[in-house]
Symmetry: C2
Subunit: 241 residues, 2 copies
């Protein structure tokens, strides 16, 4: 199972470019990299509010739109039409994948069932799969649990739907919190290093999130390498058993 | 969205052959076509009990196993090992598709998002997709609603997860009850005629289920024909609009 934002897709580039395009249409010149960071930054607190029970469930599409509405004026985008705002909000459905992802998923799919396990809602994840030509065995989303990662119910719901024990599942992510929560439910963990998730800023804004500060079962720079490591990992475990 | 048992896969042939194979392993000769019909027949009442609140939720895998356990002695299969019983129960994860389905889904996928909407649980539907090489955009199942078709919540849950209005969705099935329930929630309906669903018995055991006794928006003998009809249907509706 794969985390998606940051792990499989380069949201920073996709959102920066969409902001720039929207800005051009209304004559607004801004720091669109910062726009991408600001939009993304509102997402964590909104999910935490849902998990804490301070807010009722809403999808990431809804959360993204609420954050966008707060950012519009500051970035000179308040004159966008409603249709343009909806279109801009949908950029999260058509983000570009990191360059290794297509080939990596194809390799992994030869021997494994593959699914996203993302805080993105189901329709968003369908959009990203169509945009990037990914073939999943099913779409797993926090939306199916009514809570957001890292709430343990999200990982448990996914295992239940797959009818697998947690120990039969590897969670693959570029983020500490996701892997820590998956490991706590008994899953195997795979770390993918995505140093450019937050753009080419040094040091990254969330250094603890993009550096392997927990012990993952596998650590790889990309999914192609992970597929080779996983073949070795499975062989080793079969020999051990 | 597609019904699966009977509409996409030939459960009668798959289950008959699996019964025959299991019987041979323990020296039992029986009417394995009847075995398939008996196994399938227990499924409706068990689902109705869940929908009526007389039974708590259990997956189709669980329902199939309970029915199988009741049939074992009558078909001379009581000496199967527990592992063999589990394997036999999983025949529902690897049923063969009707011959038009692979090509039909590939054609439909060029212009439409495709998902099963089945009473089969998610892991069963993943198994059928892998067995038959189908590429879905997501897996939709009654399991995600905690009720079985034809309960309206199943269709509504599917539309919500796709973030579509019901009127944007076509439900494709070979069964009256499924299409009637889908239409009641506002969906477009596509009828596929599968006269051999219950095997080559004349008349079929459930004639009302395998004959088009309701007015569907489209009626086709197979998915390839449906894909052509749907292209015409969409063009017509665009011209009308």
């Amino acid at each position: 199972m794969f985390d998606v934002f940051g792990t499989l897709v380069d949201w920073h580039t996709g959102v920066r470019q969409a902001g720039e395009l929207a800005g051009r249409s209304v004559g607004s010149k801004q720091d669109w990299s910062q726009f991408a960071l600001d939009w993304r930054a509102g997402y964590g607190p909104a999910m935490t509010a849902v998990n804490d029970g301070r807010a009722s469930w809403q999808t990431i599409d809804g959360i993204h739109r609420a954050i966008l509405d707060e950012l519009l004026a500051g970035y000179g985008l308040e004159t966008l039409t409603e249709a343009d705002k909806q279109e801009l909000n949908k950029v999260w459905h058509r983000l570009p994948a990191w360059s290794d992802v297509g080939e990596g998923l194809d390799l992994l799919r030869q021997n494994h069932l593959l699914a996203p396990l993302s805080n993105g809602n189901v329709s968003l994840l369908i959009g990203l799969a169509r945009t990037n030509g990914w073939q999943w065995d099913c779409i797993l989303s926090s939306e199916l649990a009514g809570k957001y990662k890292p709430d343990p119910s999200v990982y448990r719901t996914a295992a239940r739907l797959l009818d697998l024990n947690s120990a039969e599942i590897m969670m693959v992510a570029a983020h500490v919190g996701d892997l820590r929560a998956a490991a706590a439910t008994g899953m195997i963990t795979g770390w993918i290093h995505r140093p450019l998730e937050f753009g080419p800023v040094t040091p990254p804004p969330k250094f603890d999130e993009v550096s392997p500060t927990i012990a993952a079962d596998l650590v790889a720079p990309d999914l192609i390498t992970l597929s080779r490591q996983l073949a070795d990992f499975n062989n080793r475990n079969i020999v051990d058993a």
